[in-house]
Symmetry: C2
Amino acid sequence: MAEAMELVPHHVGLSVPDLQSSIKWYQDMLGFILEKQMEMPPLHAKIAFMKYGDFRIELFEVAGAKPLPEDRRFPQKDLTTHGWKHLSIGVKEPKKVLEMLKNKGADIALEGEVNGEAMGFVRDNAGNLVEFNKIGFI
Amino acid sequence: MAEAMELVPHHVGLSVPDLQSSIKWYQDMLGFILEKQMEMPPLHAKIAFMKYGDFRIELFEVAGAKPLPEDRRFPQKDLTTHGWKHLSIGVKEPKKVLEMLKNKGADIALEGEVNGEAMGFVRDNAGNLVEFNKIGFI
């Protein structure tokens, strides 16, 4: 029973307006690899699994989907509605990574420090927040 | 430069109506450990880091936050608004895990098969969708 309940993160779902643009952003900016593309006609959805190590982002382009609520583009405002929020990625040097992403044209939503450690948020090509924290830091 | 961009999943943010109830659900149902609690007065937020292995869920209870949009309780409807969606957790035997969670009183949102592999969604205590997939399966 205990073994059955061993958990690993598998993926986070992300609904986007344009699948190909989002595939490109996660490839070019963050180095994710396109693992699989498929269609799910009952959901009117085109799907792509983007992989990095053992972790994935599952991108969904659903026909007629509503746009990202404006609050979701801002780390603090996003928290003022209940539900799943940002994905945070751990890196060795958040400050350096944010600088590199900025140089590559990423849209920086917030840069700061928490308990003396650099952290920040970028927006992906569709405005979704991706946080960067130092690996293991809380 | 390449080493700086080595990424690992750090956490997913989750805004909830009641921090203590959510801490308890992720402990009792999924075996997460409460790693740290803190307050962020500028955000009017109480925060808890829940840890499982190297992965975390960051719970936020923000004063006056708006309720989970009703669509977000349903896996397919949730995808019809752009943004970050469900967290998926990988397990060796999704069917067995869903059965165990059901026996512990979890609210099952969907049970099914994708390409011959069992999968499903449960709702946490606040209605947020947690998916279960076989480890490595896409």
